[in-house]
Symmetry: C2
Subunit: 487 residues, 2 copies
Amino acid sequence: MFEAVELGQVLRHAKYEAALPRLRSSLLQAHLDLRGQKFQVIVIVSGADGAGKGELVHRLNEWLDPRGVETHAFWEASDEELERPMHWRFWRAMPGRGRVGIFFGSWYTEPVVGRVFGRLSRGQLDAALQRIVELEQMLTADGTLLVKLWLHLPKKEQKKRLKKLERAGRLAPDDWKHFKCYDKFAKVSQRALRHTGTAAVPWRLIEATDRRYREFTAGTLLRDAIRQHLVEAAAEKAPPSPAANRRRSRRISLLDRIDEGGRLEASAYARRLKALQTRLSRLTWEARERRVSTVMVFEGWDAAGKGSGIRRVTQAMDPRLYRVVGIAAPTDEERAQHYLWRFWRHLPRSGRLAIFDRSWYGRVLVERVEGFAPPADWGRAYQEINAFEEQLVEHGIVVIKFWLNVSAREQLRRFRERQEVVYKRYKITEEDWRNRSKRGAYQVAVEEMIERCSTEVAPWTLVAGDDKKSARVSILQTAVERLETAL
Amino acid sequence: MFEAVELGQVLRHAKYEAALPRLRSSLLQAHLDLRGQKFQVIVIVSGADGAGKGELVHRLNEWLDPRGVETHAFWEASDEELERPMHWRFWRAMPGRGRVGIFFGSWYTEPVVGRVFGRLSRGQLDAALQRIVELEQMLTADGTLLVKLWLHLPKKEQKKRLKKLERAGRLAPDDWKHFKCYDKFAKVSQRALRHTGTAAVPWRLIEATDRRYREFTAGTLLRDAIRQHLVEAAAEKAPPSPAANRRRSRRISLLDRIDEGGRLEASAYARRLKALQTRLSRLTWEARERRVSTVMVFEGWDAAGKGSGIRRVTQAMDPRLYRVVGIAAPTDEERAQHYLWRFWRHLPRSGRLAIFDRSWYGRVLVERVEGFAPPADWGRAYQEINAFEEQLVEHGIVVIKFWLNVSAREQLRRFRERQEVVYKRYKITEEDWRNRSKRGAYQVAVEEMIERCSTEVAPWTLVAGDDKKSARVSILQTAVERLETAL
């Protein structure tokens, strides 16, 4: 496929100079038009060493409005990055809506280079490419415009360029080492390009021998891509909802069948709680030792006991080992991103735990029921969430998810109780009563969530919550068992 | 000083249970009253191992509204943290305004522990304590309430507690090792407490032998501190301005004396530019090798050539080595923090460069002139900025600051030119014309900034900017010289 662009394209100086002002003003205009748009643009600059990627990055920075563009160069990962799933560092660097992010090096670099130098098997390469396709699909579905540029340089030309760079003292440390693997690099790259060039996110191959040609071509491609995306975004109608025709309810409800079990006596409760907390404490130290991280998710009805359940879990842990991440309304930096961004941000370092008090499941619960997200968006989310959790598990993170159930009747009793105890009163708001009145709609959403997101690697644990004591014991029991299995 | 709290204080169960509901509801109310306030609360939980710090952290989390509190436990620093000045990790974790941050371990931990185990000399300990005093003063001046709790445990009691924790399998790895140094630890701690307990930010010593006593006391102290701070914040009048009586202008203006030098011919310019860029390129690779980072600051009049100056610098560098940080209006996460927070956030990893297009100096330029910050705030900023830059330099970062000057006349010519070139027109806005009309006020601010913030370790370089070519050469020349000296 690379041969197809080895055409010897050249742009003469005079022609370049004559055409440049028009390109610059139209590209800049397209960039300025992005302001206030609901999508971001990611420009991936990839290709052979010495193909002028760095120069192109400089050029784009010169041509675009500096206030609306940011450049991220990905090189060796830091230990904080290595301790999270591979895509964490890219999520960290995502531009906000209305902005352009230029990625020099990207999610392609490590899979391709890793395969070339034998760190990855062919199967591992393909798995990594599959994750990339999922990521790009997810970003695209969220509206992001991905412009993937590949600068191709014939072998002969690469040698020439590297020599020239060397003379100027501007060679990067690994350049010659990479050159020796030119053929392997070309082969693996082409495999990567074939796997990941989809109709929605095509690769743009650019012959890189001539500086003026490659830069002018890249600028033109970027301008046209932004323009077209702006037109499409303006014309966008809500696509047909994938959920519209789905049956609205089930004859036998999953939640109604949760076995409420018996009540736990105070003395038995105290004994079991203590025993489980001691085990959990030891396990968290062991996990720390073995660098295994854990993500716990607590979802449940209002007043189902999420807060007190979390406290029984954290009481067993050294505060240096865990963080509780309470999920409330997003900040504006979070709103300017894909909805999963704010959760990526809080993934734990290795050997630590992150406990999410509400989570990414808000997408298919409150956002669905309250209509904050259109059906196409939350309908897609099940798959996105499963892919996200799979990445966590692949990285070795233990994912433990609790749905805390409580009957409508018990919930009412607790709401009333909260209003009576002074220091609990703040917990109950108008919103809780409003949510309660929509219990039916929420129940449909909860059941669909449990059904579609109980994967083998990250199953939901349903907790019967009418008896607080046995609910807490059962949460601790599950946490202990899951960790014991994992360690 | 620790003996003063070895009083054998105990709170009996019945008394505790009777008093707790009132404490909880009043503490919670104080916490809820924080919402929407313009200050944050940082609770530092320090003290001996086994004194119940972890339990206290859990208890405070139980008592406070989970939506308004976050706990940060500081342990081993990550490599990303080690590559920045010591306080970076704490800036990373600062709670936003209206919120409570509980710091388990804090900026005190490493100096004290480091001194106990001989990693720090006594002089280094004192220097670290001095940095802490500066940090706390700066936060306090910004309105932050700092509540510093020290849980003290007599030696005998510590031994008992550690044995008990050991039996429960809940001992942290270093606890016994630390116990062996009890006396040294006590001595160094007291030194730290004496140095850093100021009237504005006192230490609160709590006898930690009895769980109920220490938790109740801590809760009460926190509640009272928040209450008092709320009262003070409500009553606050603008303090007398430190700048009010300052002379408004100088007889001989610093900026007007900048030597404009001669114009540089195109061919000489091209030659010198290329030579300097080649040197700079080599230097950045060498800095990378030697793990020396660089922070460059570009400030200057509108249209003075900041953007094009930065481009000439970055053209010489591999995009993996630098980041340009454009400073525009803060995001809401940034607005919820001390004004320096957003700059801490962008400090480079070791061996990299961060290039700030406008910077923390906005505090004493635009915020001063436009009245966005009251005189007391920007008046204090010179000292805060000097302390900040000193920390960078102490950490081994090269700090290079450019003021790009341009005469009023040349500025006008460029404004007009920008309006004529299509792809430059966007650069010129109403605001630029407004700023220009305030040139006199800005000039006073610029000169005071240069005078007060040209420290030995981080001097300002004034660049005569009327001739763009010689300005660019002089920027590159300075950058090259500063790096050569540093490497």
